[in-house]
Symmetry: C5
């Protein structure tokens, strides 16, 4: 679906265009066309391919989706694939794809399976003509920056989630729940990392060394995006590392808890085993058991049993088993 | 076994050739010969070596098999070894080998221990003469692309398998089965990674830097293959990482389950130990045990025992042990 | 808040300046202005941006904070972000930010959320005019050195903490406490590493290769800072590795302890089970149990029970179970 | 001990030489001398050092042994250290050392603590004069190839061993044995890896970049050896990784098994505790226990006990505890 | 404390010098001065700084100690920091520092907290004038070689220690001791690795690429030292890896042992529970229990109990639980 199609010159919008007038504006020097598609159909993509002279392989990638984030050059056209990451209503992560084709005189963005649009990007760009006049490369930066900035709240949410687990990891009886949450978190981090890391690697090529011509004038801006991606990547790595440790710690806590239960079990088993053994002795049917005939035999026996159990209880207590 | 032998010029097939006419066509400028062998014999390989002037070491490798995937240059001839990976009827992974020799005017593919053929590749290439006229390098790309594309369903199957394990990893009593499946999965991933990673490393040399002459014109295409391999490699690494975590989580779940069982055991042991100890006390044979003579002694005793056990049960319940 | 603003020439202070005279001194050759802000407001930053011609993106970073440590060049101006790390009164780590803008004729330091100031740095620099006359690059070094030197006591404190854990890791009954402390330590190390490692990577670019012009004359000094960061980074890695092992060892100790308790439990359970079983036998109500009538039956029985239990005790003792 | 000493020219043997004639042949252009020593004495090494002008440090290394595999250049002489790895009769790995000095007109191999000789290498080389005429560099390749090829059966044996462990890792009661075997395997893999990895790193320098002059003409051959080493290295890494997982899995299996035993223990303990408690109740000595006087009291009691136990048994069975 | 101060020319000693004559000899072409300090005071270091024109930062490092091993250039002076590692009488590792300043015409070694001196190095150097005439660079090599060679016995001792642990790791009841020893070993390896790895990295810069002028003529010698360091580094990595596995294996052994104890406990508990339950049955006070009146009731009952227990014992034995 076509969202938007407009021509720009010297930082200001010339006109909204119908698709069939694109080629007229492409000729005009100093002018560039900015087209936005969403959940594009085959027909639309083919039309765009013809208008802008896009490479077969790049269009294939945009059509099929399921690409890793990447930035490739086909001649003087830059083709970028980025992942959009959003929370679904049920708190699952949904991954969409944003493909951007950038030529000297055009930008084409194709967004699939993603709820978040780029109208804000366009509006802001149009309000800042001194920046927009840097041309298609700047628009590319603005789109990339928008995609990347939307990762921050996701990563923050994951960090908050992890802190939630950390708060209860040293509490008894939460192990099962913790491990499920940690595993779920680890999966989500994997999804975000899949979006961030390859894009970071790709973005680094826009900041130094041989930078594609359309991006060359905006190197500082791409370095800023690259910097954000580096930061996110470090955060994700730190998260992942912490989760690894937390899983280990959780296992340790379970084992510690089990060992405490074992000690208690041992202690109580010991105390009752003593009582039962004593009672068993005086329950034997020998004829000549003089204490059985004593008037105070019974209370003495019960007292002895109670005393022994009490002593054991006391010692177990002191040893920290009870 | 010879599968196919044909000469091409300007993107279209000239003729199917008997093997002994190969050398005639090799002279012809702008023409290349495409030969496909399957489970090749020594005689066939030696014949091909003579026809195309292949290097001893490369032919040795094709003959003996058991090579790592690689792409090597011998003079102006490129020699590639790739692994084919297929599921056997019993769901095991079967690894075959595809060797490709590419010279300026010929392509020779040798496929061993592999059920999947390349007739489809040839058919499609012949339907697209504008691509096929890029020459032997394009055929090399088409073969490589075919081999690599067949890894995708394998990796998908492994991912589905892992999801199956993940669904039951937090369920009680599945630990033994999970760990077996995870171990099996890890082994299979190792097999696929063995096919993918070295080929990825080798393919990267066809996309940038000093690219072999026969591949130079198809750099964008090889980058596409390289890109697929990078994506697969990342998927396999993610799978491997997830399996590692899943094994750890499975161990944690076993320990948690055991700790729950230990608590239950401790609780019930405690309850019955109390009952037995009480009964033991009143089973002692002292003469002077006044309560034994009371009319309501017995029901009172049983009641006391039941009440104590009930109290314990209640407390264990509240503590989450039962 | 403006802390300080002064102009220097040939290593000595010319004058403390009001902010609106900065531009006068910037013109003066061989002179540089050194401004220090703390918890800067938007107004102050905008003023400084105008005075010194700072890049939008750099000022954005200084304003928003939450940057990774980094050193960037915008034209001939170097922009550095560093983390200050301090212990809060409750022994938590507090991270602040120190941003430094260095131009050929000025240094601007902005310090946010940090209690530690740089007055000492300025005082020492003014006492050493032979060094200060190296210009703004040397001031940059001095600030960086001050920030980095303050990491050392933090790392020392963490090392001391870890040694405290190590001292009790092989003692019984400390496992729960150890694991909490190790987890806390690991988190803190992460915080410090976040400050150190990216700064180390950035600092390496000031010591070799294409060094920014303002730093070029102080290469040996920056190498010294880089060296400190390398050392810290190695210490932190070693700490982290040790913590990983300590967590593992702690788990092992818990398991060993549990296994010892299990053995003891097994041993005592065995001893009492034997006593109870014997007593149960002689508590049976068969009519023809001749030993029950023997005069010495009872003491003999008790003696036999005691002897058996003693024997068991002795053997368990020898086996190391008790 | 001198094994062999001969001069070659144009690919064919000129003569077997006594050691003191070596220098005569070294002068002769197009001729090279090939000397093989075994468990060399100091005297022999000193003699060779004088004949061939070897560097002090290299001769030191050959004399003392215990070197890592490496390939070094001393002027135009290449000095290589390789490890030979063999199984001892008791299935231990025995590491020997093969040092090779290669100059433009000589090859000197020194083999220590190794049972396997290189007579086969010499015989094959002499049968292939078209290859041997490549000179001393080709002999170096042939020796290296022979050493490296002998690693394959070792690695195969280790893989077979691991498969043996894998077959029983999911069987009950084999854990202790598995862990011992896995640990032993890991040690052996370390030994082989010690031989393979540094040699691989060293060999890579003979295939590309600035290749030593004596090896330059045989680059394709050294690439073949390098390729073998890469493959072995990958196999060893895969083995090591699998062993790591297998150790983890083995631990999981022990824990799973223990948890099954704990469940069984809990179940049977429960069943008998119930029986004992019931019997204890009716073993109490209260005077007014009417059921004790019933004619069918005893069978009813036994029946009740048996029924309760049966019910418990049934439920434990269904829960998978028994 | 000044240990030694002498001037050398053409490989032979000219004279032992008082410190104040150093400058005379520094002028003399072809001559170099070799000074050795031990536990140097501030005064001595300042004096040396003046004599040899050392850089402030390097002298600072030598004064404060606690540096990582490193090799730095200050102009044409090379400054090296190395760690000496020794066993204390109580078998702890003691780390000292050896700083070496090497200029074209002098060598200054400063050794702190280290018992081992370099008199042997000087003596050997003076006995080999053909080597010593390589100048100050060779002396630097000789000192470095001496420091590095002293790591070998330390590493050997650690390896022997680990073998000691390995011998008993599969024996029952040694787990606690093993884990303590493994943890201690790991710490010690960390200390040695701290000395070896950074020095290795630094030494690699003396063997290839842009080598400092004073070392350039002794490149082969420094490569030899580098080689030793590489070997040590590999040994330490292997040790560390083995310790990691050994800790894991030790944990497995504890778990296996515990699982065996649990089985035994379960088996004996089962046997006695059966005996007690039977005895309890016949200890009930029902009036109509005909077997109680049988003449052979008691022996039959005891026989039945014994038989049942025997049967259970037999079955547990067969199952490997006892």
């Amino acid at each position: 679906m076509l969202i938007n199609c407009a021509a720009y010159e010297g930082g200001t919008k010339l006109a909204d265009l119908p698709v069939d007038q694109i080629s007229d504006y492409l000729q005009r020097p100093g002018c560039f066309v900015w087209v936005a598609l969403r959940d594009s159909t085959d027909v639309e993509l083919t039309q765009m391919q013809l208008e802008f002279g896009l490479h077969d392989l790049a269009v294939e990638d945009a059509r099929h989706g399921h690409q890793r984030p990447k930035i490739e050059e086909y001649g003087d056209i830059v083709f970028a694939v980025m992942h959009s990451v959003e929370f679904s209503p049920t708190d699952e992560l949904v991954v969409g794809e944003v493909c951007v084709f950038v030529g000297p005189n055009f930008v084409l963005s194709v967004r699939n399976h993603s709820h978040q649009g780029f109208l804000g990007v366009r509006a802001r760009a149009e309000r800042e003509p001194h920046l927009l006049k840097h041309g298609s490369g700047f628009v590319f930066y603005a789109l990339m920056d928008a995609v990347v900035d939307r990762y921050f709240p996701i990563i923050d949410a994951l960090e908050t989630d992890l802190e939630g687990v950390e708060e209860q990891i040293f509490q008894r009886g939460t192990a099962r729940q913790n491990i499920e949450r940690l595993y779920g978190l680890k999966q989500k981090i994997g999804v975000v990392k899949h979006a961030v890391t390859p894009l970071m690697d790709a973005a680094s090529k826009l900041t130094s060394g041989r930078v594609p011509a359309v991006c060359a004038g905006n190197r500082d801006y791409f370095r800023d995006v690259y910097d954000h991606l580096t930061r996110m990547n470090a955060s994700l790595d730190a998260l992942r590392d912490t989760i690894g440790t937390a899983i280990q710690v959780n296992l340790s806590m379970v084992t510690i808890e089990e060992s405490e239960v074992t000690k208690r079990l041992a202690a109580w088993a010991g105390i009752f085993a003593v009582a039962t053994a004593f009672a068993g002795i005086w329950g034997m049917n020998f004829e000549h058991m003089p204490e059985l005939k004593w008037a105070w035999g019974y209370p003495a026996a019960v007292g002895l049993i109670a005393a022994t159990c009490g002593l054991l209880y006391h010692r177990f207590r002191r040893a920290g088993w009870l």
